[in-house]
């Protein structure tokens, strides 16, 4: 288990990281990026697996099973949708530079 203050530092630094990543993003990428971050919180699947792995009563197992189902849906669906969106971003031949 993580110590209270270490966790607080992790929370803080991760929040700044997320803020920095988004801060200078061209509008063109807002939808794919929202979809991409939707995929990243699919990591909830790992937590759901742990919850189901530690469940012992039928009720807890039921809850865990539903959580894993939903988490797997979040991860897989988020990936497919984001990939399909980004597949379409073909840089034009003339100007390969970024456009804000």
């Amino acid at each position: 288990m993580i110590d209270g203050f270490v966790a607080l530092y992790i929370f803080m630094l991760a929040a700044f990281t997320g803020h920095e990543i988004i801060a200078r993003v061209p509008v063109i990428l807002h939808t794919p990026l929202m979809s991409g971050s939707n995929f990243v919180h699919g990591i909830v699947l790992v937590g759901a697996m742990i919850a189901l792995g530690h469940a012992s009563t039928p009720f807890e197992i039921g809850l865990g099973f539903v959580a894993v189902l939903l988490g797997a849906g979040n991860a897989a669906g988020g990936y497919v949708v984001t990939e399909r969106m980004l597949e379409m971003f073909k840089p034009s031949a003339g100007k390969p530079g970024d456009k804000a």
């Binding site: 288990m1 993580i2 992790i10 929370f11 991760a14 929040a15 990281t17 997320g18 803020h19 990543i21 988004i22 200078r24 061209p26 509008v27 990428l29 807002h30 939808t31 990026l33 929202m34 991409g36 971050s37 939707n38 995929f39 990243v40 919180h41 699919g42 990591i43 909830v44 790992v46 937590g47 697996m49 742990i50 919850a51 792995g53 530690h54 469940a55 012992s56 009563t57 807890e60 865990g64 099973f65 539903v66 894993v68 189902l69 939903l70 988490g71 797997a72 979040n74 897989a76 669906g77 988020g78 949708v81 990939e83 980004l86 971003f89 073909k90 034009s92 031949a93 456009k99 804000a100």
Partner: protein, 489 residues
């Protein structure tokens, strides 16, 4: 096997690193396509590592649930049309919120204090007897620390709100729920439900871990998500989906703390912060505060005096429109949700290519909230093969409109409505718009004379330099293409 937990930790570390690098790559058009693959590899590593955790039971069930969930989501995500992407994001986001709430529920139920506190008979919700029975057979679990308990409850609340709220957003965008659901005293009721949910959450966090309280807590949280989203109009859904995306991220981070899983904390928190910022950017693009989106009930004031606009809509034939643009020097194309609905992006690009071949300078002007999500139009135009250096943001193209000969508005309405600047009583007053009325000529492709998504009259359609080309976006673009080809033959 003492190295195994260390290996799993290393895998989680790698996953967190890949998520951050992947998101970073996704924030630039050139590297974006690689970014999702990086994040995907991170997810795969983390999930495989979790299977390898030593003290896991129910492995068969876990595998079954993962396979079913992945297969269903993969299949639905593959076959859905590009126009339906916003609601799919809402749906998958809701699933993530539900999973976070489920983790919270499982943790809370596992820590229910047995035989210490009796449930009072007066309590309205009695637990199911079989659940209580089952609990007595379980060996005691180490109690959660107060911080873990508090964060677990908070994560469950946020996750549950995100779950039910995202599902409503999905249903609305899918067209299963057309009307906004408004009743008198709605805000008071919503506030009361939230307050009750928080009270139950505080009871849980204070150590009153009883099944009826847990049950009531989740019912109230889910109900609040539902009630909070119902009155919000479809035009505001992008902002709401983005907000729930951030919510789910936070919920995942908090549940990650309860489970002691750093990958969840980092990934969840990064998404929570990024999603919050993205939500603010979107709300700002509509010149509205987040509070206004959530509690403003768009259009509630518009029921009064109907706005009368002098003049009439002046129609134009496709042939004349094609000639106008063929002999123009500069043409700007403004796509909106109507183009998405009509799947007209390929025809529009075909038309634009013909114009470019004739030497016309063509640009696409995208309003930040055109369509149902910021960047929605960019995605559709990219699908059709439009190079992204022909696509201009609102701030870049607005000064160019006075030098533009013809603006072709296709399926956009509110984002080009000049009343946002001129009419203080308009519900969209103050929203930055594409200033197309400043161009020499405007051609609006529109299905009929009705008002747009927000139900607001548009003065642009009655302006002297505006001509209306009635028809479905796809059909109108097709006519323009054939008329243009006919010019050369």
């Amino acid at each position: 096997m003492s190295w195994l937990p260390t290996l799993v930790q290393a895998c989680y570390f790698l996953a967190a690193l890949l998520f951050i690098l992947g998101l970073k790559r996704m924030s630039s058009p050139r590297t974006a396509r690689g970014g999702i693959v990086w994040a995907g590899v991170g997810m795969l590593v983390a999930v495989l590592a979790t299977f390898a955790l030593p003290d896991m039971q129910n492995r068969g069930l876990i595998l079954a649930a993962v396979l079913i969930g992945v297969a269903a989501a993969w299949w639905s995500g593959r076959r859905v049309a590009m126009t339906a992407m916003p609601q799919m994001v809402a749906l998958y986001n809701g699933m993530g919120g539900g999973a976070a709430a489920g983790i919270g529920a499982a943790e809370l139920v596992a820590h229910v204090q047995r035989a210490t506190v009796a449930v009072p008979d007066t309590y309205p919700l009695r637990p199911e007897n079989w659940v209580t029975e089952a609990l007595h057979q379980v060996p005691a679990v180490a109690p959660l620390s107060p911080v873990a308990l508090g964060l677990g409850v908070l994560g469950a609340l946020i996750g549950a709100v995100s779950f039910s709220g995202s599902l409503v957003a999905f249903a609305k965008l899918q067209g299963w729920m057309d009307r906004r659901f408004v009743f008198p005293g709605q805000r008071v009721v919503n506030l009361l439900v939230l307050l009750l949910a928080v009270v139950h959450g505080v009871m849980l966090a204070a150590g009153h871990l009883e099944l009826p309280v847990i049950l009531a807590f989740f019912v109230l949280s889910l109900l609040f998500g539902l009630l909070m989203t119902l009155p919000i109009g479809g035009a505001d859904m992008p902002v709401v989906i983005s907000l729930y995306n951030a919510f789910t991220g936070l919920a995942v981070a908090f549940e990650g703390y309860v489970l002691g899983n750093e990958a969840m904390i980092i990934a969840g928190m990064v998404v929570g912060a990024a999603g919050t910022l993205l939500t603010q950017l979107m709300a700002k693009a509509m010149n509205r505060s987040l509070g206004n989106v959530l509690f403003g009930s768009f259009g509630a004031a518009a029921g009064g005096a109907a706005q009368e606009i002098a003049g009439a809509q002046k129609p134009i034939e496709a042939a004349d429109a094609a000639v106008m643009m063929a002999y123009a020097e500069r043409v700007a194309i403004v796509p909106g949700y109507g183009m998405a609905v009509a799947q007209a992006q390929h025809k529009v690009w075909e038309f634009a290519k013909l114009l470019i071949e004739r030497g016309v300078k063509v640009k696409f002007a995208i309003h930040p909230v055109a369509g149902r999500m910021p960047g929605h139009m960019n995605v559709l135009l990219a699908e059709a093969g439009v190079p992204y250096d022909l696509i201009e943001d609102m701030d870049d193209i607005n000064p160019e409109f006075p030098n533009t000969d013809v603006v072709l508005v296709i399926g956009a309405n509110d984002v080009v409505n000049p009343m946002a600047k001129t009419d203080p009583t308009s519900p969209i007053y103050g929203m930055p718009i594409l200033d197309v009325a400043a161009a020499k000529h405007v051609i609006v492709v529109k299905r009929g004379k009705g008002t747009g998504f927000a139900g607001i009259e548009n003065a642009l359609f009655y302006a002297d330099n505006t001509r209306m080309l009635y028809g479905d976006g796809q059909a109108a673009a097709g006519q323009l293409v054939s008329e243009l080809k006919a010019l050369d033959s």
